[in-house]
């Protein structure tokens, strides 16, 4: 039977930090940050709209709509993105037909761009869920006061919504960030040589039966997560997220 012989060593960490894996890890942090930003820009206004404008009785049902994509396996959803993003796929077809481009874009599928699109498509609902929960901390009368005082939408967003809803926004963003860093399926199916994340490094290490390296990558990933949680808690007091659940 295959089994590891217990002995203390830091070799797996040395292996990680002295190889190209650390560069891939840092690059995937960059890609995840872009995904967080795009998901926030697309998804958070929906959470604000639902909380502010949709009648109370219908709010949860609108949010439930965002659960629908999860009705289908993540694998099928990600795999089905390929025909959309490939050279002769739907995205290129549409862009060609409306005249935005003259020839098909080849830099979507099997590149970090493809992975970022996959991350946004997979995790965007989570920024809507957390944003919706976060908006619980912003009472409706605050918006009425702002409007009465003549504050514009951008001013209201920066000076009112962001400070009050920051813990929820941070939690949603962190969720997308760590999953972008750790879900191997996305770079596996949509990414190319330049799109390797921590999850993929760990699963490749497992396939090569290098369990210490896989666990070292997992430990580094968890340390990153805990560090970010600590910073988030110091900055935004994350316990405020729990208020709607109490």
């Amino acid at each position: 039977m295959f089994w590891m012989k217990p002995a203390f060593t830091l070799f797996a960490y040395e292996n990680f930090f002295t190889s190209a894996r650390v560069d891939n890890f840092l690059a995937s942090m960059g890609h995840s940050s872009i995904s967080v930003l795009i998901a926030f820009v697309i998804g958070f206004p929906i959470a604000v709209f639902v909380r502010r404008r949709v009648p109370q009785v219908a709010q949860h049902r609108v949010i439930l709509l965002f659960i629908l994509p999860f009705a289908v396996s993540e694998i099928i959803r990600i795999f089905a993105l390929r025909p959309f993003l490939q050279r002769n796929g739907l995205v290129n077809d549409v862009l060609l037909k409306i005249g935005v481009i003259n020839e098909p874009i080849t830099a979507i599928l099997f590149t970090p761009t493809g992975v970022i699109i996959g991350e946004v498509m997979s995790f965007l609902p989570f920024i809507v869920f957390s944003g919706f929960l976060a908006m619980e901390a912003v009472p409706k009368y605050v918006f009425e006061i702002c409007e009465d005082l003549g504050a514009g939408p951008i001013r209201v967003f920066i000076d009112v919504i962001m400070p009050l809803a920051a813990p929820g926004i941070f939690a949603g963003s962190l969720f997308i960030f760590v999953n972008g860093l750790g879900v191997a399926l996305l770079p596996n199916i949509l990414g190319g040589p330049g799109a390797v994340n921590a999850g993929l490094i760990a699963t490749q290490a497992i396939s090569a039966l290098d369990f210490p390296l896989a666990m070292a990558v997992s430990a580094i990933m968890m340390a990153t997560l805990l560090g970010l949680l600590y910073i988030g808690h110091r900055l935004f007091n994350l316990t405020r997220i729990l208020t709607p659940l109490s």
Partner: protein, 296 residues
């Protein structure tokens, strides 16, 4: 006061944007459904509508076996995870340390599937090794297969994966429930079980049934943890992946994936309609109760 209701077009545009985002997220799902009706399969130049692949689903024995084992995994996970979620949600309501409870319960959400799966895989491998050595030491082979990769390890992984979702769903439906109601029932002589079954359960059953449905959907569609912890290619998603990696997904697999999507969408749709009907009924009752007061 300036309000979006006064600008109907602004309000409609925001609705349109919301529905557009939902539709975009659903595009891959719709695409799989579209392919499942094509007689010529995926990637073909011509599109000929057919129901043939749906008729052939049950002839794919490999897929049928995979679905049976996935259903067993999902059902056992539901049996364990829903009571666990309920108990911890009840604990959250009475504990003096809600932050600790909620942090522990939600922490698996923040650990990516591959990392959690890999960690559990190594954990079970080591546990198995330790028990096998122990068995050799005492001279019995009974312990050798206790922690082998299989249903047990996969179910542990799926419970860790789904527990935070079940906890949150039940906790949200517990929002209106007050523990004083249980205390009142106990004061009237009800046993702990009677107080739960006749007072608390009717108020939270929507959350419990929703979490059962949600857990089934999550387990059925989960790949990473199942493939790492179950081993082999004998569950719904692992069979799909093995097809994708080898000869490409079969037409029956597209039909099967679509069928699973229809069922899941129907379950979620039913939950939405059920809560809609229920909340409207509650509102009607509340209005009826308030009317005599307003009239007086």
């Amino acid at each position: 006061m300036n309000d979006d209701y006064s600008s109907k077009w602004g309000y409609r545009l925001k609705w349109l944007y919301t529905l557009l985002v939902v539709t975009t997220l659903m595009l891959p799902v719709f695409f799989v459904m579209y392919i499942s009706f094509n007689e010529n399969g995926f990637g073909a130049r011509d599109y000929d509508f057919t129901f043939e692949w749906y008729g052939l689903i049950f002839s794919d024995l490999l897929m049928m076996d995979a679905i049976t084992s996935t259903l067993i995994l999902s059902a056992i996970t539901v049996i364990f995870v829903v009571p666990m979620g309920l108990i911890t949600a009840k604990l959250y309501k009475i504990t003096q340390y809600p932050l600790t409870v909620v942090s522990l319960m939600l922490s698996p959400l923040f650990v990516p599937s591959d990392i959690l799966g890999a960690a559990l895989l190594v954990f079970f491998k080591n546990l198995n090794g330790a028990f096998t050595l122990f068995g050799e030491w005492v001279g019995v082979s009974w312990f050798d297969t206790w922690f082998d990769l299989g249903y047990f390890s996969a179910i542990v992984g799926l419970i860790i994966y789904t527990l935070p979702y079940v906890f949150v769903v039940i906790l949200i439906t517990m929002g209106r429930y007050r523990k004083e109601q249980t205390e009142a029932a106990r004061s009237c002589g009800a046993t702990a079980w009677q107080a739960f079954w006749h007072v608390e359960f009717p108020q939270i059953k929507a959350g419990i049934f929703s979490s059962c449905a949600f857990t089934l959907i999550l387990c059925f569609n989960e790949y990473t943890r199942t493939s790492l912890l179950k081993g082999g290619f004998d569950t719904f998603t692992t069979v799909l992946v093995s097809q994708m990696l080898n000869e490409g997904m079969s037409e029956q697999s597209y039909a099967m994936s679509s069928l699973v999507s229809y069922i899941a969408i129907a379950i979620i749709g039913s939950v939405i309609i059920f809560t809609l009907v229920r909340s409207e009924r509650l509102e009607r009752i509340a209005r009826a109760k308030a009317e005599p007061l307003m009239a007086s």
